[in-house]
């Protein structure tokens, strides 16, 4: 794809056909803006990018971008995106969705896609609630939180996306906050440029259903990893920092492993170009060779 001659686009060129239907103030706007900026700053063209989501408020994301996209089933975005990337290794593949979508119903794909180190950029708008279904407990909801499905307070402990991603083998793990746009742009750019599976867990407040984890809640606690001592190659330190919550919450790049190659790069057939464009028919030698083995 001839990207070199294409014009350098602006963030607004990545705006989709319709305006987001999110509630005014929803945290998801923050990530959307940051992604549009990041894509522009990285010099991508819309057709070079594909954005894949599941179902949820946050999963409406691809509809608000001018790139290729799929708005798939609840929880299945990473699986679909794996197919996309293996069919066309040249695409920049973003995966977007919510905490329920990704860490709840989609949890198995999350673990295994991380383990496989498929080169995808996974952006989770973590609002610690099920937004679109009007406010039930999510696996990221904090213990004690009152939701429509836990009216007496959530008894479960929340998932920690950062530590589980690291232990599952993700090679780039970061946390962002919708309220800190600039920081988020920088994180998203690094995530896209990372070759391998990258997770960006984004605190993206649901102003309608989550009255505990608000913008203020995060603003009061967030400290940026870039501003403290932090070694992104040290998984132990990263996990330790990721466990903070009540006192302090770190955003930024927690962990990066630059050595492990992406799975898609390792499959020899990838070298022959995108599967999508591969000549579908077999050559006659290929066919004959197969037939011979049967005789």
């Amino acid at each position: 794809m001839a990207t070199t001659t294409a014009p350098q686009l602006k963030a607004k060129d990545f705006k989709g056909k319709v305006d987001p239907d999110w509630c005014p103030g929803c945290g998801d706007f923050g990530l959307l803006n940051s992604v549009q900026k990041a894509l522009a700053e990285l010099g991508r063209q819309p057709h070079e990018v594909m954005c894949i989501s599941g179902i949820g408020c946050s999963s409406n994301f691809p509809g608000y971008l001018s790139t290729y996209g799929m708005h798939t089933l609840h929880g299945r975005s990473l699986a679909v995106a794996t197919g996309v990337k293996f069919a066309n290794n040249e695409l920049t593949v973003l995966v977007t969705g919510g905490d329920g979508d990704g860490y709840g119903i989609g949890g198995n794909h999350f673990a295994h896609t991380a383990r496989r180190n498929v080169d995808l950029t996974y952006l989770v708008m973590n609002n610690q609630i099920y937004g679109l279904t009007t406010g039930q407990q999510s696996p990221a909801s904090r213990t004690g939180m009152k939701t429509k499905s836990t009216p007496f307070g959530n008894l479960e402990r929340p998932v920690n996306p950062v530590t589980t991603a690291i232990m599952n083998g993700a090679t780039f793990v970061a946390r962002g906050f919708s309220g800190h746009g600039k920081h988020l742009v920088s994180i998203v750019k690094q995530a896209i440029e990372h070759k391998g599976f990258s997770l960006v867990d984004v605190f993206s407040p649901c102003v309608t259903f989550n009255h505990d984890n608000t913008y203020d809640f995060f603003r009061e606690r967030i400290e940026k990893l870039e501003e403290v001592e932090h070694d992104t190659s040290d998984w132990k330190g990263a996990c330790e920092k990721a466990m903070h919550w009540d006192d302090k919450i770190y955003t930024g790049v927690y962990f990066q492993d630059k050595d492990t190659p992406a799975l898609n790069e390792q499959e020899p057939v990838v070298e022959h170009g995108p599967r999508a464009l591969a000549e579908p028919a077999l050559t006659s030698e290929q066919g004959d060779r197969i037939l011979k083995r049967m005789m």
Binding site: M1, K17, V18, D21, Q45, P46, H47, E48, M50, I52, I55, N60, P62, G63, S66, T67, Y68, G69, M70, H71, T72, L73, R76, A79, V80, A81, T82, G83, V84, F86, A87, N88, E90, L91, N108, H109, A111, H112, E267, P268, V269, V270, H272, P274, R275, A276, L277, A278, E279, P280, A281, L282, S284, Q286, G287, R289, I290, L291, M294, M295
Partner: protein
């Protein structure tokens, strides 16, 4: 049963006793000689022990089923002797290790061929060599020159080194010579066919159909009896430029396949009923997003985990009801291995044309059956038609992925193409992919979209021929089957003809869309219609009636895990044509004689 040469062997023993190797050697010898065969292997869902019973039937012409008779049986353990020796037909023979196995009672005229294995193998500690001795005995009885076996053994064992080859040849010769001295051969020597044939399993055929159709992405999670497709693909993928991925579960598999398909690769996945149950949500999503992708469901005996290594045609309604809502899809049940190959090729062209998911619904009998095939019949470079694809970059300002057209088909652009960026959504959407559940759920737009998608398949019957009657037009009974029963019904018709009953058959293959008019026309002319199917509830019967309103005259059903043999079907026909002794509520259920 038929005129001319028609011979069936069996080898029985426990898992781990090495039944596959002599089976493979025999199959190679037969097809190289130009003989046709069909093999059915009865086994259990355990890795060692249990009981395996491999039946190979050989004829100079196409073999339609594993038949009714057993002419020669090799018993690798006492259990096989006790269970099956009595099934050998008069004139046949039973081979066994007389050191360790006590002969059972056999029918009159059956030769008991005990082998003093300890002597013949000079007390070889490798238990498996007794199988090679027995092979020598078998080929002698069949009247095949020893050189044929010698070269087959060479091929089979060459990877293990010349010593192993030599040892096996020696053992085989010992058996061959012993038989020459001690036993009576079958008289009629093994015939030769016109030209060498090839041998494959149904799973090979499904995989090869995909490869020939240009599948560039194959994904699966192992599940019997479909795993052979994955094994074939994994082995051959790199040299055929196919990306193969095993995924964490079937939900992942289906969705990965969909992602690859949307991105332009011909994409396929296979599983069995339980795995397909997990895939149904994704199957429906492909229909909504209008993504062409091919699923394979190889049926095994259900419900639930069921009987994992046994056959059944029990997933038809699951296929029909896969996923919520009304949507467009193609469902097809191939009739044998070669048909499976051709069906996969054809269904890829249809699925690309109609931009919808397809399901190939087959079963263990085909997928794990071994079949001979004429190599010329396998077209590895078939015509490939990818449907309405946009391939040139554009400015794409008014591209609408879901354009409402008269045909219902909207031209498709593959991600990566400049100027055609769009989103494929699982929510209902307008022509331009915008969700109609967003802002306003416009009921008129919704209706238009439902109708646009539904229009797509209206031309299906122009592209795919309706089934036709095979056999005499004036038959007194018409046997209707679907998918894998075509062959056994054909054999049953031959048996019936011998009893003076004229039967013809209708083998239905394309299930959705259904050739309702053509089938109604055909069946309305039939004198008596019986439906043959390998399940309890008459799934095809009820589907036939849902689409046509036709009620038929009777049923022959089997649901004990084992496939039909020709006489099961013939017995059912005679019972129902007669004064109905066994048939209850219109359903004849044959008795399974061979206990495996």
């Amino acid at each position: 049963m038929s005129n001319g040469y028609d011979f069936a062997f069996a080898i029985g023993g426990a898992a781990g006793q090495g039944i596959a190797t002599p089976g493979n050697i025999l199959a190679r010898i037969f097809v190289r000689r130009g003989l046709h065969l069909h093999a059915y292997n009865a086994y259990q869902s355990i890795i060692r022990g249990g009981h395996i019973f491999l039946t190979i039937r050989v004829k100079p012409e196409r073999v339609d089923s594993h038949g009714d008779d057993l002419n020669l049986i090799l018993c690798l353990n006492q259990d096989t002797m006790d269970r099956h020796a009595r099934h050998v037909t008069p004139g046949g023979a039973v081979i066994f290790n007389s050191d360790s196995i006590t002969p059972a009672e056999v029918q009159e005229g059956v030769q008991l061929c005990g082998l003093p294995i300890k002597d013949l193998t000079e007390d070889n500690r490798n238990k498996l060599v007794q199988n090679t001795v027995a092979l020598g005995v078998m080929l002698n009885l069949l009247g095949v020159e020893f050189g044929v076996l010698e070269s087959a053994l060479g091929d089979q064992f060459k990877r293990k080194g010349q010593d192993v080859v030599d040892e096996n040849v020696k053992m085989a010769k010992a058996g061959y010579d012993y038989a020459k001295e001690q036993f009576k051969d079958f008289g009629e020597p093994l015939p030769e066919g016109d030209k060498p044939l090839a041998v494959w399993t149904g799973n090979d055929a499904l995989a090869m159909g995909g490869a020939a159709a240009g599948v560039k992405f194959y994904t699966a999670y192992p599940m019997s009896p479909s795993t052979g497709v994955l094994h074939w693909m994994a082995k051959n993928a790199r040299e055929l430029d196919i990306m193969v991925r095993q995924i964490e579960d079937e939900i992942g598999v289906a969705n990965v396949a969909i992602g690859a398909a949307q991105t332009g690769a011909r994409s396929m996945c296979a599983t069995s009923g339980g795995g397909f149950a997990l895939m149904t949500e994704a199957f429906g999503s492909a229909a909504m997003m209008e993504i062409p992708v091919v699923f394979i469901n190889v049926q095994r005996a259900g419900p639930s985990t069921g009987v994992p290594t046994k056959t059944e045609q029990g997933d038809l309604w699951q296929a029909l009801g896969a996923s919520q809502g009304d949507f467009e899809r193609i469902i097809v049940a191939p009739k044998d291995a070669l048909d499976a190959f051709n069906t996969v090729v054809e269904v890829f062209n249809l699925t690309d044309h109609y931009q919808c998911p397809s399901l190939v619904l087959t079963d263990l009998l085909i997928s794990e059956g071994t079949f001979s095939v004429e190599p010329d019949a396998i077209n590895m470079q078939p015509e490939i038609d990818r449907g309405e694809l946009i391939t040139e970059p554009g400015d794409g300002t008014d591209y609408k992925r879901y354009l409402i057209t008269e045909s219902g088909i909207s031209p498709r652009a593959i991600p990566g193409l400049p100027g055609y960026a769009h989103v494929a959504p699982t929510d209902e959407h307008d022509e331009d992919s915008v969700l109609i559940s967003d802002e306003y759920t416009n009921p008129h737009k919704r209706r238009n979209m439902v109708e646009k998608r539904a229009r797509k398949l209206k031309t299906f019957h122009d592209k795919v021929a309706a089934p036709a009657i095979e056999g005499p037009a004036d038959a007194e009974v018409t046997l209707v089957g679907w998918g894998s029963t075509e062959g056994v019904i054909r054999d049953a018709r031959e048996l019936l003809a011998e009893s003076g009953i004229k039967a013809n058959q209708l083998a239905v293959k394309w299930l959705v869309p259904f050739h309702a008019d053509a089938i109604t026309e055909i069946l309305s002319k039939a004198k008596k219609v019986l439906i043959v199917e390998n399940n309890y509830s008459g799934q095809f019967y009820r589907y036939l009636r849902s689409e046509t309103g036709i009620s038929v005259d009777g049923h022959i059903r089997k649901y004990d895990g084992e496939p039909f043999q020709p006489h099961h079907v013939a017995d059912g026909v005679m019972d129902q044509l007669g004064d109905k002794k066994v048939t209850r509520d219109g359903v004849f259920v044959p008795f399974q004689e061979i206990m495996v």
